[in-house]
């Protein structure tokens, strides 16, 4: 069974949700504590949403320095998959595991609502279960979700096809602003060059069961459950 470590920082509040979604697809999911130096042989790491360390100063800025993040850095450097959701995405940017930054929403208010996104890249560890171009309706809930990056970084992300999720309008004629936070290029999620580290603002773990609505988020977890580590690293505890 795949080992999935869900990292818990003080102030994480989507930790149980991420754990439940990972269990749903049959992985061995467990919590890693922010003070832990080891990920206990995790194959995959999830950085859940919330307000790590209160999100004081900047979202994710303090979490980045916690002991467990040293282990996450190593895990990522060795090609291990990491998914950061919402606050997890913010932490990945602060930790420079992903480029850019997530700033205060352009509307200046917290925004909680379902958004429509298109899956632009399906060869990542976390999106392989989706068909290219799939449209999903996923909840967002964040105050700091406006993705920004330097112009050349943005160009690079687009050129290398590293935009994983992009906000779109539900229909061509939809009266709604597709982009809930003013993100550059309507970016809702990106990945590293290898497609192993992914950061997204929407919350697939909140819509992974039918009782809560069409389970559009389940594919993220189906994807990770289908992932296989390279033989050489299989079940070798990282430390």
């Amino acid at each position: 069974m795949l080992n999935v470590a869900v990292v818990r920082f003080p102030g994480s509040n989507c930790d149980f949700d991420a754990l439940r979604a990972a269990e749903l697809v049959g992985t061995n999911a467990y919590f890693a504590w922010h003070r832990d130096a080891s990920l206990r042989g995790a194959d995959i790491v999830l950085l859940p949403g919330g307000f790590s360390y209160g999100d004081y100063l900047r979202s994710g800025a303090i979490a980045r320095f916690s002991p467990v993040m040293q282990a996450v850095q190593r895990h990522a450097a060795e090609g291990g998959p990491v998914l950061g959701i919402c606050n997890g995405f913010q932490i990945l940017c602060e930790a420079h595991l992903l480029p850019g930054a997530l700033l205060r929403n352009a509307g200046l208010s917290f925004v909680s609502k379902p958004v429509d996104v298109v899956v632009e890249r399906t060869d990542t560890v976390f999106t392989s279960a989706y068909a290219p171009g799939s449209r999903l309706r996923l909840p967002v809930a964040h105050g700091d979700g406006r993705f920004v990056a330097a112009a050349d970084t943005l160009r690079m992300l687009e050129a290398e096809g590293r935009v994983v999720l992009r906000y779109v309008a539900a229909t061509e004629s939809s009266p709604f602003q597709p982009n809930p936070n003013g993100s550059a290029n309507h970016i809702a999620g990106i990945c590293n060059a290898a497609g192993t580290v992914v950061g997204i603002m929407p919350h697939p773990e909140r819509i992974a069961e039918g009782v809560l609505g069409p389970p559009d988020g389940l594919g993220f977890f189906r994807s990770l459950a289908a992932w296989r580590p390279r033989a050489s690293t299989l079940n070798v505890p990282s430390r």
Partner: protein
């Protein structure tokens, strides 16, 4: 006299050197009247020390003692087979299937929010969360009920924006979804906004913990944030060193730290479920004093604490300040002495301090030391119980009687065609999406129906059942007829719960009124409570707790009486939940219940004829109960595709809301409705805009229509088929009294959803104007 050392055995206490002597003026500043002060002196057998006076003033305040309300609150029904914990604890608890239970409570934070809307509202949410998790329950839902002056005033916009941001930021950070609420606007709330926050938590019944101290020698610990000088009301006289300048700088505002709250939540639940502690209580209003005294009184024991041991944020705090501080995110815990180290370890894991500050004693005395010196020694039970109770005169105001008898003088501002968009544009009726979009409503991944419908619904992972939650009050009705208005608040809450498919289980209430010493205010209070009690008896929804907020007055007078009702209901199968908008083209539309066309106190009269008056409809509790049962049963049999209750705005607004579609539907479905037969005997304005109770608009698949009609007959609920659900992007078409009206759904949606954002474009512009 600089200090008062009195020799009377165990009740000896002395003042601190240099503190203000207790003079009649000081007594008055503490809001204690002669009767009360006399009782204090008799009870102690001596003059109180300043610290003791502060303690009495806190515990004998309206907020802690319920001195003007207790006799009325006693008339509430509080028992039933579903009740695990009635009033008297931090939150009420009701039984659910499979060993689960639900803890819930509502509380006001009106005054702090008037002073500092953001922090006032935020700390209101913090307080109610603590009330629930101190019962051993994990908070799973928040709701909020807000009242503000009209949005035309920049100050009101500033308050509204700050309050909503405060409510949102706190709950969002702690990670509890907001599943519902309400917002009302009326001139009476200018200068006196209402912020009522409700929290719902889940626990295993076996894990329930009560806040009663036991066991002589057991230890009292403070857990969480340090104690600062926040929110020590009227404490200016507490210390002689305090100069006028420092007084001006002293912050009275409590600042919330939701991050610490989240840690406190996790630590508390871990302490409770691992059986490490005997009792736990939040340090809420009147802080350490009320939590320690109330825990001691509940357990029938004495306590002794040393304020010198309490971790403080600033040096040099007096025992008076430490006892009365309302610093947030603090808990008081009672444990056996040998557990202290384990407790501290759990708290340290959550980055919190746990500090022993005293112990349980056998002499029944509430004793406070400051670095050893006894500064207060009061018989504990009497401190909590002996506050005089008052039952003021109640007399209905002549103005209210006259208003009730009156009829609108002005002609309607618009004909029927324009009346609907005007109503949907009125902030009281318009969508509150601008509000609830700022609240995380999906965290915890259990939201089955979020805000925007009749009631919020959540699932409980690992079970089949679901919970429905709502909060309701139509204060216009209460103002015109407090008894019927009280009934109506409970009836509307129950209707909302039943519409989503939930069986109403019980309520919590937040009774917001003006100054109870005014006969017309006390009348409103007593009668509204009588109405709530009668309705709760009829529906078998006991009152499990609540909160009274009096003295909501500003220079322009008292607020409209606002007894907010928070209700919890049970869906046997959460998958059976029913949404409020129409869902499928071609479904048949039915009106449940009868319409007489009661326009008294209606939104139509208020918005289109500038008239807030008339006699509100009498609430037919029997008809309400029959409707509730029908709705719940029809949901359980999957006969309904939508259900939306008729309340403010009447039948046409209800139809329009269902036709407009949900907040995130691309578009609404529209409907074609024919009321010719249904409302033949009722005047047109009453038919369309009357606010008769016990009604709902539902839709059903054509194949289920016959069964639905039969079920309604069985339950004795009038049912009329009035139309068909239309197609995406369609119109709402209405045939009535030989006329046909038609409204484009796109335009109605625009009006309904943009009404509040349009007014709130620049909310933070001026915090002082219009004051």
């Amino acid at each position: 006299m600089t200090s008062s050392t009195v020799t009377s055995g165990v009740m000896e206490a002395s003042g601190l050197p240099g503190e203000r002597p207790v003079t009649p003026e000081v007594v008055r500043e503490h809001n204690l009247n002669e009767l009360e002060y006399g009782r204090i002196v008799a009870l102690l057998g001596r003059t109180p020390t300043l610290t003791e006076l502060g303690i009495f003033s806190a515990l004998w305040s309206e907020h802690c003692s319920y001195k003007h309300s207790r006799t009325v609150l006693r008339t509430f029904p509080t028992t039933g087979s579903q009740v695990v914990q009635g009033p008297g604890e931090n939150a009420g608890v009701l039984r659910l299937p499979d060993g689960w239970a639900v803890a819930f409570k509502i509380e006001s934070h009106n005054h702090p929010s008037a002073v500092e809307p953001y922090q006032g509202a935020a700390t209101g949410v913090g307080g109610i969360l603590r009330d629930v998790f101190t019962m051993g329950a994990r908070p799973v839902a928040l709701l909020n009920s807000l009242r503000l002056g009209p949005l035309e005033s920049p100050r009101n916009r500033y308050l509204f924006a700050g309050i909503v941001r405060g409510v949102g930021d706190y709950g969002n950070c702690v990670g509890v979804p907001t599943l519902g609420g309400e917002v009302g606007f009326a001139p009476g709330y200018t200068g006196n906004p209402l912020v009522n926050a409700m929290c719902v938590g889940l626990l295993k019944e076996a894990d329930l913990i009560r806040a009663a101290a036991h066991g002589v020698g057991n230890v009292l610990l403070t857990v969480g944030a340090r104690t600062g000088r926040d929110g020590i009301h009227g404490a200016s006289f507490a210390s002689e060193e305090l100069s006028e300048k420092s007084e001006a700088r002293r912050p009275q505002v409590q600042v919330g730290d939701p991050f610490t709250e989240k840690l406190l939540l996790e630590a508390s639940l871990e302490l409770i479920t691992s059986d490490l502690i005997i009792a736990i209580q939040d340090m809420g209003a009147a802080g350490l004093t009320s939590s320690s005294a109330e825990m001691a009184a509940r357990g029938g024991v004495g306590v002794e604490i040393d304020t010198g041991l309490v971790p403080t944020r600033e040096p040099g705090m007096t025992p008076y300040e430490i006892l009365l501080s309302e610093s947030q995110e603090r808990m008081l815990v009672v444990s056996e002495p040998h557990r202290v180290a384990e407790i501290q370890a759990v708290c340290a894991k959550w980055e919190l301090n746990a500090t022993p500050i005293g112990h349980v004693t056998d002499d029944g005395i509430y004793r406070v030391r400051h670095h050893g010196l006894v500064v207060a020694a009061i018989p504990g039970q009497r401190l909590v119980d002996d506050c005089p109770m008052y039952e003021p005169t109640a007399r209905e105001g002549d103005e209210t009687k006259a208003l009730r008898a009156a009829l609108p003088a002005a002609a309607p501002k618009a004909g029927l065609q324009d009346a609907l968009p005007l109503l949907l544009d009125a902030p009281n009726l318009a969508s509150k999406r601008w509000v609830y979009e700022q609240y995380d409503s999906t965290v915890q991944a259990s939201t089955v129906l979020g805000p925007g419908g009749d009631a919020g619904v959540l699932r409980v992972p690992g079970t089949a059942f679901g919970l429905a939650v709502t909060v309701d009050c139509n204060s216009r009705l209460v103002a015109l007829d407090p008894y019927e208005g009280g009934k109506a608040a409970v009836a509307e809450a129950a209707r909302n719960i039943a519409c989503v498919g939930g069986r109403p289980l019980g309520i919590t209430d937040c009774l917001n009124f003006g100054n109870p010493e005014k006969p017309e205010v006390y009348f409103q209070f007593r009668e509204a409570c009588r109405g709530i009690a009668d309705a709760c008896r009829a529906f078998d929804t006991p009152v499990t707790g609540g909160n009274v907020s009096f003295y909501n007055e500003s220079p322009t007078g008292a607020i409209d009486p606002t007894p907010t009702v928070g209700m919890v209901g049970l869906l046997a199968r959460v998958a059976d939940r029913v949404p409020s908008p129409f869902s499928t083209p071609g479904d048949e539309i039915f009106v449940l219940g009868a319409t007489r066309g009661e326009l008294g106190g209606s939104a139509y009269w208020a918005e289109l004829r500038d008239f807030t008056g008339g006699r509100p409809a009498r609430v037919d509790l029997d008809a309400e109960r029959r409707l509730q049962r029908l709705l719940v049963e029809a949901a359980g049999r999957r006969l309904l595709r939508s259900a939306h209750d008729c309340s403010e705005g009447g039948l046409l607004v209800t139809l329009a809301e269902a036709a407009i579609g949900g907040a995130y539907a691309g578009d609404g479905l529209g409907a074609s409705v024919d009321l010719t037969a249904y409302g033949a005997e009722v005047p047109l304005d009453g038919l369309l805009f009357g606010e008769d109770g016990a009604r709902a608009v539902v839709s059903a698949a054509p194949a289920e229509a016959r069964r639905l009609v039969a079920l309604a007959r069985e339950h004795g609920v009038p049912i009329a088929r009035v139309g068909l659900v239309g197609d995406t992007g369609g119109t709402l078409e209405l045939r009535v009294a030989g006329q046909t009206f038609s409204w484009g759904i796109g335009a109605l949606r625009q009006t309904y959803f943009e009404a509040i954002p349009r007014r709130m474009q620049h909310p933070d512009v001026d915090r002082s104007a219009g004051e």
